[in-house]
C-alpha cells in the first residue's frame, strides 16, 4: 500500500465509521464571508481539499501502539470483497479488543477534531489543531457551525437552518 492508497483506504473506513461521505469532510465553503480574523485556518484554496486532515489523523493513529492496530484495520478494509460489506467488517472491529477502541478514536477525531488515545477510555489528550476544530463534523450534523466560527450572516439564527443533507451527505 503506497501513501495515497493508504490514505484512500483510511478515508473509506472513516466514512463508514462516521456515517458521512468523504465529500462532506471538506469544510463548507460559503464564499467570501469567512471572517478575515481567522487567518491560520488556511486559505480558500487549501480549504477545498477534503483530505487535508487525513494525513494528520493517520500520523496520530500510527503513533499509537507502534501503529499495529491501524495497519491491521487498513489491511482488512483493503482486502474486503463482496458480498461482505464494510458495515459487517466494522461490526467485527467494534467487538475487537484493540480495533474497537481504535475505531472509536477515529470517529472522535473526525467529529470533534480531538485526539483520544484508544486506551485512555475517554480521557482527551488534545485538540489536534484549530483547523481540526473548525472542520469537525459534529457541528454540521447538528446543522450549526463551530462555536466561535460562524461564517453566517446577521440574524440567521432566527430561521430554521438548511436541511441536514445540505450540511452532510450520509453514507448508505
Amino acid at each position: 500500500m503506497d501513501v495515497n492508497q493508504r490514505e484512500e483506504i483510511f478515508l473509506q473506513l472513516s466514512a463508514s465509521l462516521t456515517g458521512i461521505a468523504v465529500s462532506s469532510f471538506a469544510p463548507i465553503d460559503r464564499g467570501a464571508n469567512i471572517p478575515g480574523q481567522i487567518a491560520k485556518v488556511g486559505d480558500l484554496e487549501a480549504r477545498n481539499s477534503p483530505i487535508r486532515l487525513a494525513p494528520v489523523y493517520l500520523q496520530l493513529l500510527d503513533s499509537w501502539n507502534d501503529g499495529k492496530a491501524i495497519e491491521e484495520a487498513l489491511a482488512r478494509t483493503a482486502a474486503i470483497k463482496a458480498p461482505r460489506t464494510i458495515q459487517e467488517l466494522i461490526n467485527e472491529f467494534m467487538q475487537h479488543a484493540e480495533l474497537g477502541p481504535l475505531c472509536k478514536s477515529i470517529i472522535k477525531l473526525w467529529y470533534l477534531g480531538v485526539w483520544y488515545a484508544p486506551d485512555q477510555h475517554g480521557i482527551a489528550s488534545h485538540v489536534v489543531s484549530s483547523q481540526a476544530y473548525v472542520e469537525s463534523l459534529v457541528w454540521k450534523v447538528m446543522q450549526a457551525h463551530p462555536a466561535g466560527y460562524s461564517m453566517g450572516v446577521f440574524g440567521h439564527w432566527s430561521d430554521i437552518p438548511p436541511s441536514l443533507d445540505s450540511f452532510v451527505t450520509i453514507v448508505k
Partner: protein
C-alpha cells in the same frame, strides 16, 4: 522607593469598563489620567486569543486568556479540581468557604468583560429599596429615577442612557416595558430609544415564546422577552454586526460584542490619558495628618514567566479611583491597612454577593436548532419583582442558545456517549442530529441578599508578586434556597407545559446547596458584588451615594463592589451607569465645586 513627582489629576486602578469610562470621560474634559493595570495590555488583534480557545479542550471562560503568573485571578480550573479547598492551591483561598465562591474574572486590559455575555438589563425600581418595600437586605442611597430618568447631559440623557450608548445596546423599549410599570413609575425617559434595534430571537426562543403564552407561576404572569444585549444588531462605532458565533463567552471572534477595549481606545485618543500595564497596585498611601490618599504604590513586571519584579514605585493623583473588581478592590484596600492605622473600615470586603446560577436542561419535543446565534437572545420575565421577595429570592430566567454546552460540555459529551455505546455510521448521524437539535437549557440568576459573613479578606498565602491572595468566606442562605426551590418548581411546570423531557441531573459540583431534601447545583454568574458597598455612613458602608469613600475625601470606588443589593439584572449596565455618575462627581471635585 523611587521618587516620582508627577501628580496626575486622577489615578485609576483597573482598566475594565468602569476605569475605561472614567478615563474617557475625564480625559475628554482635559484632565490628566493615569491608569494602572495589573495584567497585560490590549492585544493588537484577537486572532491569537481565538486560537487559544480553539485549541483548549476544556472550552472554559478563561480558555482564550493565558495564565499570568504575576497577576493571577479566580478561574474555573481551580473550581473543578478536588483541591479547591486547599489554600496552597489555585488563587482564591477557599479553605473556610462554606460553599466555594464560583465566580471568576480576568486581570488584563479590558477586564473580565472580554468574556461577558453581553446582557444589558436595567435594574428595577424596587431593587433599590429592598428594605423599604420588602423588609429584606438594605436600601441603596440612590433611587432608580436618578439613574434612569433624570437628565445628566444637555441632550437629556440619563446615566443608564449614557451607559447603553457607550456599550452599544440592542433592544426595543417596548419589549422591556411589558407588564411594567406595575406601580406607575416610568422605567425609561419618554423619548428614549436604544442605540440599536433588538437582536432577532433564536429558533430556541421562538419555541419558548410560543409555549409560555398565558403561563402563570404563583399568580404571576410569565412572558418571554428579547434580552437587551451589548452586541451590535447593525454596524456601530466601527464594529460589525453580530454573525452569531455562539461564543460571546469566552470570546467574540469579530468584536460584534462590546468589550471595554472599545472605550479604552477612545480614552487613549485624549492626550492626557496614560496607562502603565503589567503594573500591580500594592497599597494606597495616606497623606500623613490628612484624610486624603497621597498615592498608589505599584510594582511592575517585564514578563510573566521571568522573575523580573521592579522595586515599588509611586503614582500620585489628586483623586484616586479603585476600579479593580469586587475581589481585587477590597484586597487592595485591606492590604493597604497592613502595618498602619488606616483602612480600618470594618465593612471593607463584607457582603460579597453573586447571582447564584441554577440551570436545568432537557430535550424539546421538536427540533429547535440550538448552537446558533448569540449564546442567549431571550429570557422569561415577570419573576424579577413581587411580594414574594419578602420570602424568597427573585430571579430572571435566561434561555440558552447553546444546548447542553454548560451542563455537559456538549456537543462533545453526547457524541462520546453514543460512540462509546458502539453507535457508528448512519445511526450515529441520525441519533446525534435528533438529540443535538432538540437540546434546551434554561438558567436562573437568583438575587442573593447581602450577608456580612460572606466576605473577602486577606489570606496568609501570597501570590508570586508577594501580595496576599484573597480569602473567601461564602455561603447561600435560606432566602436563596427558597429561591432555588421555586426555580425548580417553575421548571417542572414549564417543562410539562412545553413537553420538554427533563434531562437535568445532579452534577456533583463543588457548589451545590442541599436544602429541605433538594439538591441544587449552582454556578457563579461572574457577578462579584457588594464588597465596598455604598450607604449613608461608614457605620454600614464603605462609600457614599457618589461612590466616594466615607473615610478619604479624594478616594472613589467604582464597579459592582459598591452595590448594596444585587437585584436580578446582570450588573454591568448599572455599574457602567454609576461610572458616569462618578465621573461627574470627580469632575466637580477637581473644579473645586
Amino acid at each position: 522607593m523611587s521618587k516620582n513627582e508627577t501628580v496626575y489629576d486622577v489615578v485609576i486602578v483597573g482598566t475594565g469598563i468602569s476605569g475605561a469610562i472614567l478615563a474617557k470621560e475625564l480625559g475628554g474634559k482635559g484632565y490628566s489620567v493615569l491608569l494602572l493595570e495589573a495584567g497585560v495590555p490590549m492585544p493588537h488583534g484577537r486572532e491569537a486569543l481565538v486560537e487559544n480557545f480553539f485549541l483548549d479542550i476544556r472550552k472554559l471562560p478563561e480558555s482564550p486568556f493565558p495564565d499570568n503568573k504575576f497577576a493571577p485571578s479566580a478561574n474555573v480550573k481551580d473550581l473543578i479540581t478536588p483541591s479547591v479547598r486547599d489554600p496552597s492551591h489555585g488563587y482564591l483561598d477557599q479553605s473556610d468557604a462554606t460553599i466555594p465562591f464560583g465566580s471568576t474574572y480576568e486581570r488584563r486590559a479590558g477586564g473580565t468583560m472580554w468574556h461577558w455575555m453581553g446582557t444589558s438589563l436595567r435594574f428595577l425600581p424596587n431593587d433599590f429599596r429592598m428594605k423599604d418595600t420588602y423588609g429584606r437586605g438594605t436600601n441603596w442611597p440612590i433611587a432608580y429615577k436618578e439613574l434612569a430618568i433624570e437628565s445628566r447631559r444637555e441632550d437629556g440623557s440619563s446615566y443608564y442612557d449614557l451607559a447603553e450608548d457607550e456599550i452599544g445596546v440592542s433592544a426595543n423599549v417596548a419589549d422591556q416595558t411589558i407588564g411594567n410599570p406595575k406601580d406607575g413609575e416610568p422605567l425609561y425617559r419618554s423619548s428614549r430609544k436604544y442605540p440599536m434595534p433588538a437582536i432577532p430571537l433564536s429558533t430556541v426562543d421562538q419555541f419558548f415564546k410560543n409555549g409560555v403564552r398565558g403561563m402563570k407561576f404563583d399568580g404571576l404572569d410569565v412572558w418571554h422577552y428579547a434580552t437587551p444585549a451589548g452586541r451590535n444588531s447593525r454596524p456601530y462605532k466601527n464594529r460589525r454586526a453580530c454573525a452569531g458565533n455562539t461564543n460571546c463567552v469566552p470570546i467574540c471572534p469579530i468584536q460584534a460584542k462590546y468589550d471595554p477595549t472599545v472605550t479604552l481606545h477612545a480614552a487613549f485618543n485624549y492626550r492626557g490619558v496614560f496607562a502603565h500595564f503589567q503594573s500591580i497596585a500594592t497599597r494606597l498611601l495616606v497623606r500623613e495628618g490628612t484624610n486624603e490618599i497621597d498615592s498608589v504604590e505599584f510594582i511592575q513586571y517585564g514578563s510573566s514567566t521571568e522573575k523580573s519584579l521592579s522595586p515599588p514605585q509611586i503614582a500620585r493623583g489628586r483623586v484616586v479611583v479603585l476600579a479593580a473588581n469586587g475581589i481585587e478592590t477590597p484586597k487592595l484596600l485591606l492590604n493597604s491597612g497592613i502595618g498602619n492605622r488606616h483602612f480600618k473600615n470594618g465593612n471593607i470586603g463584607r457582603n460579597l454577593m453573586d447571582h447564584p446560577f441554577y440551570i436545568r436542561w432537557g430535550l424539546a419535543p421538536e427540533k429547535v436548532y440550538p448552537y446558533r446565534g448569540p449564546l442567549s437572545t431571550g429570557g422569561l420575565d415577570g419573576l424579577r419583582d413581587g411580594a414574594f421577595r419578602k420570602d424568597r429570592s427573585a430571579f430572571r430566567i435566561e434561555i440558552g442558545n447553546d444546548g447542553w454546552r454548560l451542563p455537559k460540555s456538549d456537543p462533545a459529551d453526547t457524541l462520546i456517549d453514543l460512540v462509546d455505546k458502539n453507535v457508528f455510521g448512519k445511526d450515529l448521524v441520525l441519533q446525534l442530529n435528533d438529540i443535538l437539535t432538540r437540546q434546551v437549557r434554561i438558567g436562573f440568576e437568583l438575587e442573593q441578599l447581602p450577608d456580612p459573613n460572606n466576605r473577602v479578606s486577606l489570606s496568609t498565602h501570597k501570590d508570586a508578586a508577594g501580595i496576599p491572595r484573597p480569602k473567601i468566606q461564602y455561603s447561600v442562605s435560606e432566602y436563596e434556597s427558597k429561591g432555588f426551590a421555586a426555580a425548580a418548581r417553575l421548571t417542572n411546570d414549564l417543562f410539562a407545559r412545553l413537553g420538554i423531557d427533563d434531562k437535568s441531573t445532579n452534577r456533583d459540583l463543588v457548589t451545590t446547596k442541599e436544602w429541605q431534601g433538594g439538591k441544587y447545583d449552582f454556578m457563579g454568574a461572574g457577578h462579584i458584588m457588594g464588597t465596598c458597598r455604598m450607604g449613608i455612613s461608614s457605620a454600614d458602608s464603605v462609600v457614599d451615594r457618589n461612590q466616594r469613600s466615607h473615610d478619604y475625601t479624594n478616594l472613589f470606588i467604582v464597579g459592582s463592589s459598591v452595590f448594596p443589593t444585587g437585584g436580578t439584572a446582570n450588573p454591568t449596565l448599572t455599574l457602567a451607569a454609576l461610572a458616569f455618575w462618578a465621573s461627574d462627581t470627580i469632575d466637580a471635585k477637581l473644579k473645586g465645586k
